[in-house]
């Protein structure tokens, strides 16, 4: 895990400056697919009311279960067809994306807000405190995340707000573990010793000198975790324990669509595709960010 010492052969072969790697990085799938997809989904979620062709809540029972535009009986103005109440599916999926993005990003921020300080304390203090914190973290890490999230939303009551809380509290361990791992190697470096020697307090050393070094790997982890949180949110909403209808979320649209899957294939299919593409985009963007920000981690992880 140590980052110092002899450069590995791979690093010598490849110039490590970002400007040298940039042309290749810009041509990678992460840059060509991941980043644009994530930007598109975020933009659509932000400007849902301008992008959607229809009011996602407006019901029209005469239009119920209309197929997408390329099928017999479909029309251009409702490109992906309609749901059981005749609401425009495309507009609902766009607004559903907002729920996913809000939950994914807020849950990750909440987890980070809890996990990073815990990891800093554990890694910097070491000894007993570290042992106890990491023992708890290990237990929670090996506990099935989805079940934990389900129990928490059972306790808090299902809603968008509480889904964020449930996922945020369930997810802190990842940040604590990553932060601690980084801190353990950083705290042995000379400049930390120097900071301590000129009289920096422990708190100041951690916040001013250790924390900035941890940020890069955490950005990568955060991106990948956002993808995972979106999947878990969709699972919870699908199971009826997350975002509640009539507020659309990809998970609950899918759950409604499942009841109509025999005669209206599009209803459950499109929200699923929306989740897959978004999560794929975030995963690819996370891998790409790792290559851009922290090329050495590839070598370390292998």
């Amino acid at each position: 895990m140590s980052r110092g010492g002899e450069p590995s052969p791979d690093m010598r072969r490849e110039p490590s400056g970002l400007s040298n790697r940039l042309p290749r990085l810009l041509r990678s799938p992460g840059a060509l697919f991941g980043v644009p997809v994530v930007l598109l989904v975020v933009m659509a979620a932000l400007f849902a009311q301008y992008v959607s062709p229809h009011d996602p809540f407006q019901q029209d029972l005469s239009l119920r279960l209309q197929p997408p535009f390329w099928e017999e009986g479909g029309e251009w103005s409702r490109p992906l067809g309609t749901d059981q109440f005749g609401r425009c599916l495309f507009s609902r999926i766009i607004l559903g994306g907002r729920a996913s993005i809000i939950v994914g990003v807020s849950a990750v921020l909440l987890s980070a807000l809890i996990g990073i300080p815990v990891g800093l304390v554990a890694g910097y203090s070491r000894g007993r405190v570290d042992e106890v914190i990491m023992a708890i973290a290990d237990v929670q890490y090996s506990f099935p995340f989805l079940f934990l999230a389900l129990v928490l939303s059972y306790l808090l009551g299902p809603s968008l707000h509480n889904t964020v809380l449930a996922l945020g509290f369930a997810g802190w361990v990842t940040y604590a573990r990553v932060t601690r791992g980084e801190v353990l190697s950083i705290r042995e470096r000379d400049y930390i010793l120097a900071a301590r020697a000129i009289g920096c307090s422990a708190a100041r050393t951690v916040v001013r000198h250790v924390l900035p070094q941890v940020v890069t790997p955490l950005i990568v982890v955060g991106t990948l975790q956002t993808a995972w949180m979106i999947v878990v949110e969709a699972s919870l909403s699908y199971l009826g324990m997350g975002v509640q209808p009539p507020t659309p979320s990809w998970g609950n649209i899918l759950a409604e669509g499942r009841l109509h899957m025999l005669n209206s294939w599009w209803y459950a299919t499109f929200p699923g595709i929306a989740i897959t593409i978004t999560v794929l985009g975030l995963n690819m963007m996370g891998d790409w960010l790792r290559d851009v920000l922290d090329p050495r981690s590839r070598l370390r992880s292998q």
């Binding site: 099935p144 079940f147 059972y154 009551g157 999947v231 025999l262």
Partner: protein
């Protein structure tokens, strides 16, 4: 080995106790179980609530409840489920074989298909096969299990009629849910094995093996895979908890009679006793699998047992 076994065993017991205690207090203190139970019913009189509180043994002081809970749990009594009208623990344990069958089938698929994909990609790096495998495994890590389940069910059970859609029975019932549950671990194994295999295949001992004139299959399997597989095995151990979580969703979709679908049913019915018992059972399941994985490691790698 014996000392190591004993130390690990004590640790496992402490972890189970920790999990049980955490859930015991969380389920009582974050919100009122009786209120939750009645949240979906209409008008409920205070008398009915009080009767339920007594039935669930929630009317005594919390430290007495806790002592009672631990004492009964050690004897294998996790309370009586109000919704299912039977003791919670036997019901969960009765469904354990179904969950084990599903998760082990998924693990086996992940190990076999994941290895094949990973090896093939690693042997032909930066070719079309490699790119396709990378894409496939990225997709496998991104597709939501519950959606994949619905789509597969629609294609293979409804349209083609090849496989049964739900329930448990002969091998044909196992295929769809096990495949669904295995997508994420398969993809993870493929990705990890690809990179560790590429690393191993560039080592000097592989060149030596080839120079000795060994057939390429022997070089790849005996010299390459055996070394490259170690990190993948470690990861499979870690993926087990994720599989158990995934089992909750997959079992619910395919109506698979395991502990996952029962736990979900208990949660959606606000069945306090069953949720509590299921939490402990999940905790024990995780601890036992970790314990077994640790023992296997210690057996494979002598350095661990003396550390």
């Amino acid at each position: 080995m014996q000392r190591y076994f004993f130390k690990r065993f004590i640790r496992a017991v402490i972890v189970v106790w920790l999990v049980a205690t955490t859930f015991f207090f969380a389920l009582r203190m974050i919100s009122d179980p009786v209120e939750l139970l009645f949240s979906q019913s209409g008008m409920v009189t205070p008398q009915e609530k009080q009767a339920m509180r007594e039935f669930l043994k929630l009317d005594s002081p919390i430290h007495i409840q806790y002592a009672d809970f631990l004492f009964s749990a050690v004897q294998g009594d996790m309370g009586h489920s109000f919704r299912f009208r039977q003791p919670a623990l036997p019901m969960l344990l009765g469904r354990l074989p179904a969950t084990l069958e599903l998760t082990f089938a998924a693990l086996a698929i992940a190990a076999v298909i994941g290895s094949i994909l990973g090896i093939v990609a690693a042997l032909k790096p930066h070719t079309l096969v490699d790119h396709f495998t990378i894409f496939l495994s990225l997709l496998g890590q991104s597709v939501p299990v519950f959606w994949l389940g619905i789509v597969l069910m629609l294609i293979f059970a409804v349209q083609l009629g090849w496989l049964p859609a739900t329930g448990r029975g002969d091998l044909s019932h196992l295929i769809l849910p096990a495949f669904c549950l295995s997508t994420y671990p398969t993809a993870s194994v493929a990705r990890l094995l690809r990179s560790s295999m590429m690393d191993v295949m560039s080592q000097d001992y592989i060149r030596t093996a080839r120079a000795k004139g060994l057939p390429e299959t022997v070089v790849v399997i005996r010299h390459g895979l055996r070394n490259a597989a170690i990190p993948a095995i470690t990861m499979l151990g870690l993926l087990l908890s994720r599989l158990l979580g995934g089992a909750v969703v997959v079992e619910t979709i395919f109506d698979w009679p395991g502990i996952g679908s029962l736990a979900y049913k208990a949660i959606s019915l606000r069945d306090f006793t069953m949720v509590q018992a299921a939490s402990v059972v999940f905790g024990v399941a995780v601890v036992v699998t970790n314990f077994v994985v640790d023992m296997i490691y210690a057996w494979i790698d002598p350095r661990i047992r003396y550390a």
